[in-house]
Symmetry: C2
């Protein structure tokens, strides 16, 4: 039994017409393969449900919140099954609890523990297409759980991993691009990219795939690709193991994020344990600190410490740090939200020198100041003033020859 897992995002099931269009893609595939379809909720539906829950509580009980918000996927799956059956494709929807897809009990951000693939195999003997809601599972006590926003990508990859099949993510763009085509008009579609690069791009702001799904595909070696549900004949992007052909590209793509804020603490006492006094309380408040920079003063007694965090958490972080002031000992606290992060990603960096130099030269010649910088083996991330974001991305895109 040859099986493929196809995932359709919210925009690919946004309207009756979109569902039918995605249905005809499924129809085509189902002529040669048994198909498991993973669906998101109809575009806007999850937001509507989230908003409804917030009418009753600022912090809705997570168990009940998951029941409400997961119902969007339930509906889109049943509609798709109604459509496929109406065009004579024997199809059946299976909810998370009916398979089951077992997850941890962390409501709103549950992790998939196991998937009963035997149920999937059995049902595929009887049906050409199974339709499974993304985003939802159940925990050990039969409570409905959700995987967090964008979790449907992860559901699809996890199902593909559980049955050992390929996974195709259908979305509203044609694939993964060298950078955001909305920002840089001559951005190019990347035909093939390594898991590692995709992982860096996804976690650095490229929104085409959820980070966790790429991580999972990489770990389980699942062949993953991204294609357009509007132009299904186009080939899209294949995410795969690093191979030699990929190493020709020094830089594969440039991601960016406006969702950043920076906090600077002046004259922090430079002594052991002070970092944990700062970042401990933030971690407890569920705030993910990203980049960190520490400048030690000349006398070696004080340091200035800057770090970035998600923009939505800035108020909460300031409150926590002001409360901890006596404990941390800093002189002044400053913050900025007018900043953006740019990440240059490529496995070729491992073997090619000069990637950083090109970055410094390009920004320097554009008079753009770098506020913070971090690097990994295949990535350089910088923080700049948000006003220069577009100029920076465009000139870097050109400098790394990504438009060719």
């Amino acid at each position: 039994m040859k099986i493929k897992v196809l995932k359709f995002g919210g925009s690919s099931v946004a309207t009756v017409e979109a569902i039918k269009m995605s249905g005809s893609i499924i129809n085509d595939w189902s002529k040669k393969y048994k198909i498991i379809v993973v669906l998101s909720a109809m575009y806007g539906e999850t937001d509507r449900l989230v908003k409804l829950t917030k009418c009753f509580s600022k912090n809705p009980l997570p168990r009940e919140y998951d029941i409400a918000v997961s119902s969007g996927e339930t509906v889109s799956c049943s509609l798709m099954s109604i459509y496929l059956n109406s065009i004579k494709i024997p199809s059946k929807s299976l909810m998370g609890w009916q398979i089951p897809i077992n997850t941890s009990s962390d409501h709103g951000k549950a992790r998939i523990i196991s998937i009963n693939n035997q149920k999937l195999f059995n049902e595929l003997k009887k049906f050409r297409v199974l339709i499974v809601p993304g985003f939802q599972g159940i925990d050990i006590d039969n409570n409905i759980t959700t995987l967090g926003r964008g979790g449907s990508d992860t559901s699809a990859v996890a199902i593909a991993a559980s049955i050992g099949s390929e996974c195709i993510i259908y979305t509203d763009v044609e694939g993964v691009y060298t950078t955001d085509p909305n920002l840089v008009s001559d951005a190019k579609k990347i035909p093939k990219i390594s898991y590692e690069e995709m992982l860096e791009l996804a976690s650095q702001g490229a929104k085409v795939l959820q980070t966790r799904s790429v991580e999972l595909a990489m770990r389980k070696k699942i062949k993953l690709s991204v294609r357009s549900s509007i132009k299904p004949s186009k080939s899209g992007t294949i995410i795969t193991d690093e191979d030699k052909s990929l190493e020709n590209n020094t830089v594969s793509g440039i991601a960016y994020s406006r969702d950043e804020a920076k906090i600077t603490l002046s004259k922090v006492l430079d002594q052991p344990g002070v970092s944990s006094k700062i970042f401990g309380p933030l971690a407890k408040g569920n705030i993910n600190v990203d980049m960190i920079l520490q400048n030690v003063s000349q006398d070696g007694k004080y340091a200035n410490l800057s770090f970035t965090l998600p923009r939505q958490d800035i108020e909460k972080a300031l409150k926590i740090l002001k409360k901890e002031k006596k404990n941390i000992f800093y002189k002044k606290i400053q913050h900025s939200v007018n900043i953006a992060k740019i990440s240059v990603v490529g496995v070729g960096m491992r073997s090619h020198a000069g990637v950083a130099q090109t970055l410094f030269d390009t920004l320097g010649s554009n008079n753009i100041n770098i506020q913070l910088i971090t690097t990994s083996e295949i990535k350089i991330s910088i923080l700049i003033n948000e006003d220069y974001l577009e100029t920076a991305v465009k000139s870097l895109h050109k400098a790394y020859n990504l438009n060719k």
Copy 2:
């Protein structure tokens, strides 16, 4: 453990405000009792979902249709639980499959087979309020089923029966009335009514309770009452066993329905088996024939046969009967949709003569022609021209002193 089952209809959970208002009624009851709440979908939501399914198929696959339409109740239950928990009432929603509520596999009109009351008792040890979606259950193969429109009343009564508790139906009217207050302004609320009378009123067009729920309450002797969620302090109507106090009322109420159509077949061959040739095919087409009248012609050879059926089925019925014409042998087929049914109901009819006489006198003096008539022990139903419906109901309401 003293338990009450409270059911709230679609209008009682129509908006955020309505849900909160119903929540405060639950709060009040939960101070003295453990509560099981049964909820409908937010008003309009089931219609929206039904319409969505029809965008994909005129006849949506019943299994998938049930998944889509039952999601409205899922959402209203989770919202109510979020609200109750936010005001510090320990509450938990339990979907049909989580209890489970086991039903037959007749999607769209499933019947409840059993309810795992042990699960309910166990959860009530931990929570003050359980919230259960009406209308939904699961069949033996774990498929989601629905009980048919208005099925939430039946869910509530079935749950009350399974745990041996009272059931209160909260709705947008103050109780059961002697007739429709929208039609007759001096209609009176009935403080107490017998199961049998309520059953006749419900099945004859009084929309306050679903017929099946009354039937079930009667069979299981469940104390059932109807109250207003807008004016919860009002006492409402208690539906109970027939007792002596009830027999004082000759007539308890008058129901009516505009949802009727009549078909007349002329010169049907009057011989054994002809009825089954007519009503057999209609039954196969799922058409419920209600009243039947047969006039044998003078020579005893032919008969004219009239019967009523739901107005929505008229086209289907005509098609079936025209197809069967050769088999049935009739001369002419006529139909009318401009008709209405009025039913006069009262257990007192058993011991009081003259109820029918009053009916004939009242309609006669208003020059209203009776087209068909059927009777049961506690009910007289008549069919009249729809144009005279209001006049007929008003004058009968007065003639039976129901306004006093």
